[in-house]
Symmetry: C2
Subunit: 200 residues, 2 copies
DNA sequence: AAAAGAAACGAACGATCGTGCTATTAATTG
DNA sequence: CAATTAATAGCACGATCGTTCGTTTCTTTT
């Protein structure tokens, strides 16, 4: 993580900084983060903020991790409490859709994909890791639904994950660019129809 | 457009600048454009570049328009030469998929959505206009396919457009983040399956 | 309470940002 | 070719960028 974080107060301050940084990055993007703006948002000095991370890039990496963690806590963890199969898959998708609705300034991770998809480096690597993990989790949930017999045995789990991903991306954009409620209705319908065409 | 562009050379220079600006914005994003970098890329002075637009925002607006125009020329125009109906719709989608494949540094417009979806202002307005136009064109092509009887009469054109949009977005990201060929195969399959479930 | 160590500040750095101004070229018009 | 006007360069401005360094304040440990 940071260069040091030995004191309890040190850890607390770091979390405060990352909380504000996450909020800023949701609006301005991870690339829109600046140490100066972050110092202003926390009431600290620039050098005070900087000392917690050692470089801007390390700060950005930490913010990406915060984004991944919050997304996981809001979407994946609740779904894991549902029974394996269609119930859990539905929970994942509904949770994802809710997440898009409730984060009015956009999902940090989904925006970060666009920011770094043509920019090789440590930040792109981190984004790829986060997305790949999430995609794997989704595909696993689909596979379990096949295993429980709630989807046809010849269903392609990766293909379904791809399409679900697409619906979520379209929802994410339409929510902010056009009518959020219509977008949600279309995303729900898209998923329901997708499932219905793969029923046993 | 710019403050002035009275001379033939003035117009040519403006187009040169916008061409370089488009290339930079494809990689760094519209928000990553800077007058200094653009001056370096064109061999001009900063003030020379600046004088063509009057402000950075006007430059960014012009670049967005270039992006919209090039996308239209590459995807929409060729499709309009096909017969109304499924042939044209297939051409639109295939052209869109090809566009994603051939623009190795990403589609400027699709990236701009993420950049401005939480940032009200003139740039967001322009992005919304461009996307709305494209979505309308797509929906119109779907509606024509319904009218020709190649899709069921109870098909929801806007719903189909939403899902097609999602597939393109997922393709755009997977192309750069993961395996381009697998992504293309999944996007093709997704569209084919979508059409097949709405056949009369 | 004293010593040690971590956390935060303040000032400064070179760079770059967008944007004015004033010349100086270049192109168009008469 | 001369007169006019547009296009470009040069220079400077205030701001902000990420980063470094030395000092001071606060926590933790002894």
């Amino acid at each position: 993580m940071g260069p040091q974080a030995a004191t309890t107060k040190g850890v607390a301050t770091r979390e405060l900084i990352l909380d504000r940084a996450y909020a800023i990055a949701c609006r301005e993007g991870v690339e829109g983060l600046s140490i100066g703006a972050l110092a202003l948002a926390t009431g600290m000095s620039k050098s005070g903020v900087f000392a917690h991370f050692g470089s801007r890039e390390d700060l950005q990496l930490a913010v990406l991790d915060v984004g991944g963690q919050r997304f996981g806590e809001a979407v994946l963890i609740p779904a894991l409490r549902k029974a394996r199969g269609l119930a859990r898959l539905r929970s994942i998708v509904a949770g994802w859709y809710d997440w898009v609705r409730d984060n009015h300034h956009g999902c940090l991770i989904m925006a970060a994909i666009s920011e770094y998809d043509s920019r090789p480096g440590a930040l792109q690597d981190r984004v790829v890791t986060l997305i790949h993990r999430w995609r794997s989790d989704t595909a696993r949930a689909v596979q379990m639904t096949i295993d429980t017999g709630e989807l046809r045995a010849d269903t392609d789990a990766l293909q379904l994950s791809f399409e679900i991903f697409g619906f979520a991306l379209a929802l994410h954009q339409d929510t902010r660019l056009f009518d959020p409620q219509q977008a949600r209705a279309q995303a729900d319908l898209a998923f329901d129809r997708l499932i219905s065409t793969h029923l046993p």
